[in-house]
């Protein structure tokens, strides 16, 4: 098990004003995003495609460079780590991708794929490694007679189980699931969700669970963060978020996903422009163009990050929002 214990007050992963841009800074993909993931907890990161969720995930893994801000893992900035520290951190952070068929190397057997991280981090002796691989396969619900099979011999759901096994084999503290159940059938999705919940209860792994599906997030997350065009609009504990969403965009997403309410009629501006990141004016709220509750001030200045205070503050975690509807003096009655 983990030898390093994080101080309970420190989050396992903390992002502070993370910014990422592409094409020589002409296209801002992530704009001053801050959130934190607590040990053993699941944070659901929600947003439309192109909102910058995957860029955040890739920056945490150092697959893309950050332009500014910090990514603190157990209090250390991932982008400033020395190679040995980084190696240790990489062993503790793993990822599961959306497309199971693309996330395993077609020319390598299950055993080769699963042994690779263990060999790379020099974990255990060769016999211990193969024992670990067999054990993890059982944990994700596969027999160890599949060890010498190639990815194309498996169904989509089985491939995703193998990808999860590869992520878990180094006993990580944090697993990033980037739309890990989005391309799956409902039945397979349910199986994988079930598996993730069991694993989390058993091993106490924290998840950064990226999804555009709020119902999936509700099922699995302890906290929710909402992104829109590179910015984080709201972060709240799951129960608070699903009962009292603060940001108009969060409310829209919730009403879209809920079955019981009649679907709202949307205008074109609200939907058909989810990926136009480039034309963002820094002096306005990013959501002002699509917002149903837009005010004159929204077009003139960018809202600051506000923490919503509650009268009976017994909820875990804070509720932060970036919206001009709220200011520091707001106290929610409930």
């Amino acid at each position: 098990m983990t030898s390093q214990r994080t101080h309970p007050a420190h989050p396992l992963l903390e992002l502070r004003n993370l910014s990422i841009s592409f094409r020589d800074r002409r296209q801002i993909a992530v704009d001053r995003v801050s959130f934190s993931v607590l040990k053993g907890q699941t944070l659901g990161l929600v947003g439309a495609s192109g909102a910058g969720k995957s860029s955040v995930a890739r920056a945490i893994l150092r697959l893309v460079q950050a332009d500014g801000g910090e990514i603190l893992f157990k209090g250390e900035d991932i982008h400033r780590m020395k190679s040995q520290q980084l190696m240790a951190a990489r062993q503790r952070i793993q990822i599961v991708f959306q497309e199971p068929s693309r996330s395993l190397s077609p020319k390598r057997t299950v055993a080769e794929s699963l042994l690779e991280p263990l060999q790379h981090f020099a974990i255990g002796s060769p016999t211990e490694r193969s024992r670990k691989v067999k054990k993890i396969l059982l944990t994700v619900g596969l027999d160890h007679d599949v060890l010498h099979h190639y990815p194309h011999q498996f169904s989509t759901g089985q491939k995703q189980r193998i990808a999860i096994a590869r992520a878990l084999v180094t006993k990580p503290d944090l697993v990033i699931a980037d739309e890990a159940v989005s391309s799956l059938d409902v039945s397979v999705q349910a199986q994988i969700l079930q598996l993730i919940q069991t694993l989390q209860a058993e091993y106490g792994i924290a998840f950064l669970f990226i999804s555009h599906d709020l119902a999936v997030i509700r099922q699995i997350a302890d906290g929710v963060a909402v992104m829109y065009r590179g910015q984080l609009l709201e972060q709240a504990p799951a129960d608070t978020f699903f009962s009292q969403p603060a940001h108009p965009y969060s409310r829209l997403l919730l009403s879209l996903a809920s079955l019981d309410e009649p679907s709202p009629v949307l205008n074109h501006q609200q939907q058909l422009n989810p990926d136009g990141i480039t034309n963002h004016r820094p002096s306005a709220c990013v959501y002002s163009a699509g917002c149903a509750e837009v005010m004159p001030v929204c077009g003139q200045s960018e809202p600051a990050r506000i923490e919503i205070k509650y009268k009976n503050q017994n909820m875990r975690g804070s509720h932060c929002v970036r919206c001009h509807l709220y200011d520091e003096t707001n106290i929610n009655e409930t």
Binding site: A190, Q219, S258, L272
Partner: protein, 323 residues
């Protein structure tokens, strides 16, 4: 008085292989009324898309054979048509929208050219008339500036806009039946909703019958008048969505419903997945195909396939349906 626009009678599809023919579709029968939507649900690899392709008579692989007691479109049997007649019907009386608008559109032509080509092929001559019809179809699916969309190439549009253009192309000839195969699967929630709203609008305007194929039960619930639940090429249950969602009778339907994550104010209990996976079509279990994964299965289920039984407008093929 409802009239069935499309009636599929005992549709069978088999494929030859080295160890004998495999049944891809087995006795599929249903009908769709004008202006109504029928949803077809099931896991991947259960034959949903095959059903669509078999209705259109376009088979993706060689060695496939269709047998049926008739596929009636407005009283005309599609299976009796010859090649030329079928080509006239496809796109004009019955058309299809695919899951991947990015690959279903030709990247070297503008959308206007592609839609106009469809219009032209189905009997409207004259450049001006063609263009007029084309622009109208784009306007109908909700584009406020159809000229701009018509002049665009597929790669210049977002996924949602491409899918809307696909729908414009499929509905430009005002078909009686529209088959939509996972039309919103690759899209964002808000875009999904927009596409479905446009489909609904077209439907009320032209009384189009829609066969909506989806694995997303929420979408089926919102849009359909009838739901068909398919598993391994057989229809296991057909009913209206409300009774399906409140009282599923087939254990498979119940299992599928249990898989949907619920959006509630309090945290839902852990999800209940159906164990196991869809068997390969080359290796179907005898009797009821669902029996090996079913917790209500009895000995009889493992050797005899239950016949569909109708009761009160609801058809279930199960020996031990849910109470």
């Amino acid at each position: 008085m409802n009239t069935a626009v499309l009636e599929v009678r005992d549709l069978n599809l088999s494929i030859d292989s080295s160890n004998g023919p495999h049944q891809l579709l087995d006795g599929v029968s249903f009908s769709i009324n004008a202006g109504e939507t029928t949803g077809l649900v099931g896991e991947s690899g259960c034959g949903k898309s095959m059903t669509a392709l078999a209705i259109l008579g376009v088979l993706p692989a060689t060695g496939m054979t269709i047998r049926s007691a008739g596929i009636m479109l407005n009283g005309e049997d599609l299976t009796a048509l010859n090649h030329a007649q079928r080509r006239r019907v496809l796109g004009q009386d019955i058309s299809m929208v695919f899951q991947q608008p990015a690959t279903a559109l030709d990247p070297v032509f503008t959308l206007g050219q592609q839609i106009a080509a469809t219009v032209h092929r189905h009997g409207i001559s004259g450049r001006k008339a063609c263009r007029q019809t084309m622009l109208e179809s784009l306007e109908l699916v909700g584009f406020s500036q159809p000229e701009k969309i018509a002049a665009a190439y597929p790669h210049e549009l977002s996924g949602g806009m491409r899918q809307l253009s696909m729908i414009a192309m499929a509905t430009v000839c005002k078909p009686a039946v529209l088959i939509a195969d996972e039309p919103t699967t690759a899209l964002d929630v808000s875009t999904q909703l927009m596409i479905l709203q446009q489909l609904k609008r077209l439907q009320t305007e032209y009384k189009t019958a829609i066969l909506l194929i989806s694995h997303d039960l929420n979408i089926i619930r919102q849009c359909c008048h009838t739901v068909l639940v398919m598993y391994c090429g057989r229809l296991l249950e057909s009913t209206d969505p409300e009774s399906l969602f409140s009282h599923p009778r087939h254990p498979y339907s119940a299992g599928l419903l249990g898989c949907i994550p619920k959006l509630s104010a309090t945290r839902p209990p852990p999800i209940n997945a159906i164990a196991g996976q869809v068997p390969a079509l080359t290796d179907l279990p005898p009797g009821c195909h669902f029996a090996p994964r079913c917790d209500r299965a009895i000995a009889q289920c493992r050797h005899t396939a239950p016949e569909p039984e109708s009761d009160n407008g609801r058809t279930v093929a199960c020996f031990r349906p849910m109470p």
